[in-house]
């Protein structure tokens, strides 16, 4: 039996909302934190899904934007907590602890980085695109490691979670709510985007670049914008992730994380709206449940991934709704 995808999406969101509420009632704050992690990873993967799932380009460097978001938060909050001045040359600031400001900075810097990286790497496709984005990722990773002002290899700790006007962000459920609202917003924008002329053209460019050129559209420009949007969303997720842990380190830039994001999407369903959300749920659940039993839980994840790639290309969403995933 196959489920209606809209109904399934609704059920997934309801589940995301109700589990933390249940945890609140039975007073298990750790579960809420775990669910916040799910939501943030899902948001990062929703970002990647734009360029990977709809645009058909496997970016193996999305940790760049996650890390940029993380360091945007880390650097701004670090200067605010140490009362030191951050001198950009053009303007001077003493940092901030306000989440909305941090988010905007994280997104703006991520978008700029995505634009510059995109201009260079979108001349290629396929394996070359994977390699060039991986190379950029490694550049950022080693740059972060060798940046002593902000902790270098040890990373940067932020003592108190940043603030959001009117909310107590230290209460796990309130911070969870902030993240969930942002995720829902991103999903809504993604749903609109996919059906828009831009989304239709981007999706067609994935299937045949020559097709969109023949109707007078430059596929490279479509992909560049998709890459920028994609990096922006993942950058926002990075800022939230840093706030969740109150810690940033070069690990956020690691290629392993770029790989995890791809794995999330493949598990959930490539190009499917809720694919990243389902993927993040499965990933965190396995990490938590199996990770407690054995260090080798990634082997199980690998087996699941293998099964999906071999037998069910649509991921979990595709399996439940009977629809194939986007072919990348």
């Amino acid at each position: 039996m196959h489920l209606n995808e809209t109904a399934l999406n609704g059920a997934i969101l309801l589940g995301l909302l109700s589990l933390p509420l249940y945890a609140l009632i039975v007073d298990e704050p750790y579960t809420i934190t775990l669910m916040t992690r799910v939501v943030i990873l899902a948001l990062a993967a929703v970002g990647l899904n734009i360029i990977l799932g709809v645009g058909g380009l496997v970016s193996f460097g999305h940790a760049i934007f996650f890390g940029i978001g993380g360091y945007a938060m880390g650097i701004l909050a670090y200067h605010a907590q140490t009362f030191t001045i951050l001198d950009f040359g053009l303007f001077i600031t003493d940092g901030t602890r306000l989440m909305p400001v941090i988010w905007l900075v994280a997104m703006a810097v991520s978008a700029t980085a995505a634009f510059l990286i995109g201009i260079l790497s979108l001349r290629t496709s396929g394996v070359y695109f994977i390699m060039i984005t991986l190379a950029f990722g490694q550049m950022f990773y080693y740059f972060a490691i060798s940046w002593p002002e902000y902790g270098g290899e040890d990373g940067l700790s932020i003592y108190v979670r940043n603030t959001f006007p009117g909310l107590n962000t230290l209460a796990p459920i309130q911070f969870f709510a902030i993240c969930l609202v942002l995720l829902c917003l991103a999903l809504y924008i993604m749903a609109r985007l996919r059906r828009s002329p831009f989304g239709l053209a981007l999706n067609a460019a994935r299937q045949s670049g020559i097709r969109v050129e023949t109707v007078g559209i430059d596929p490279v420009r479509l992909r560049l914008l998709a890459f920028v949007l994609s990096g922006t969303v993942t950058g926002l997720a990075g800022a939230l992730y840093a706030d969740l842990n109150r810690f940033v380190s070069p690990v956020m830039f690691s290629w392993q994380f770029s790989g995890e994001l791809i794995v999330l999407i493949v598990i959930g369903g490539v190009g499917r709206l809720m694919g990243p959300v389902v993927g993040a749920c499965v990933f965190v659940a396995l990490e938590h449940l199996l990770g407690g039993l054995t260090e080798f839980w990634l082997i199980i994840l690998g087996l699941i991934l293998l099964g999906i790639v071999l037998f069910d290309r649509g991921g979990i969403i595709g399996f439940l709704t009977g629809r194939a995933g986007a072919h990348v």
Binding site: R192, L193, R195, S196, P197, F198, G199, L200, A201, L202, N203, A204, Q207, S208, I210, R211, V212, E213, T214, V215, G216, I217, D218, P219, L222, A324, A326, H327
Partner: protein, 249 residues
């Protein structure tokens, strides 16, 4: 004689030792079908690619409505008015028939830089798309996924997408390829009318269709145009008969 709508002058392309096109100068006038024929490997596809922007010529120019479009890429040439169909269907196979045609309407209309409104909910786009679909007889299949269409239907869909562009010139690479006798007949009748909307540069192996449709025929052999003329002239041309037509004519 009317002004040429599309003109190539001295298009030359060399791939290593192979001279794929050798100073090819042809033109296409309003209201006509100009067919390019020639044996496999004669350079017809390379010529088409040079006209449409997929291959950069080593020498020569392409003029559309007297404007030099030689420096433009594929997509810019499409916007300038080249409506192309492919030898091997290049469609968005996972998308519906309607979505494929709406893509054409997007490219020809306001472009893809709209992010909020649903493309299929836009009447401007779907009206244009539906009218193209009904002209090629695919209206009743508008919600089918492209990959489930028959070969002949995909061919017609290619034409429908080109129609949405309202091009100045159609460039068609073997539209009859793989169509059965009935399909060829349908396509022939369709192209016969289409020439009055915009002239057609037609590369085709189906000689019945070529001699039925073409106002003029150019014969390519080894990268060179060895003859251009009406069907009757080409049939009678001794060079052509020796080089290519053999017993066909």
């Amino acid at each position: 004689m009317s002004e040429p709508v599309l003109q190539t002058s001295g298009l030359t392309k060399r791939f290593g030792a192979l001279l794929a096109t050798d100073a090819v100068s042809i033109d296409l006038r309003a209201g006509e079908i100009h067919a390019i024929i020639g044996p496999n490997g004669a350079g017809k596809s390379t010529l088409i690619e040079q006209i449409c922007g997929g291959v950069r010529p080593d020498a020569g120019r392409v003029l559309l409505m007297k404007k030099d479009i030689s420096a433009l890429g594929r997509h810019a040439r499409a916007r300038a008015g080249l409506g192309r169909t492919f030898q091997i269907s290049a469609l968005a196979m996972e998308d519906s028939v309607l979505e494929n045609v709406v893509l054409g309407a997007i490219g020809a209309g306001a472009g893809p830089w709209h992010f909020w409104r649903s493309a299929l909910a836009s009447e401007t786009l779907t009206d244009r798309a539906r009218s193209a679909l009904s002209r090629v007889g695919l209206m009743d299949r508008h919600d089918r996924i492209c990959a489930t269409l028959s070969h002949g239907q995909r061919r017609m869909l290619e034409v429908a997408v080109a129609l949405t562009l309202l091009p100045r010139v159609f460039v068609m690479d073997e539209p009859m390829a793989g169509l059965g006798a009935d399909g060829s007949k349908l396509m022939t009748a369709f192209l016969d009318d289409l020439r009055h909307e915009a002239p057609i540069l037609l590369v085709e192996h189906d000689m019945d269709a070529v001699f039925t449709l073409a106002d003029r025929i150019s014969v390519m052999v080894h990268g060179k145009v060895i003859a251009t003329g009406t069907s009757a002239e080409i049939r009678m041309n001794r060079l052509v008969r020796e080089a290519y037509l053999g017993d066909l004519a």
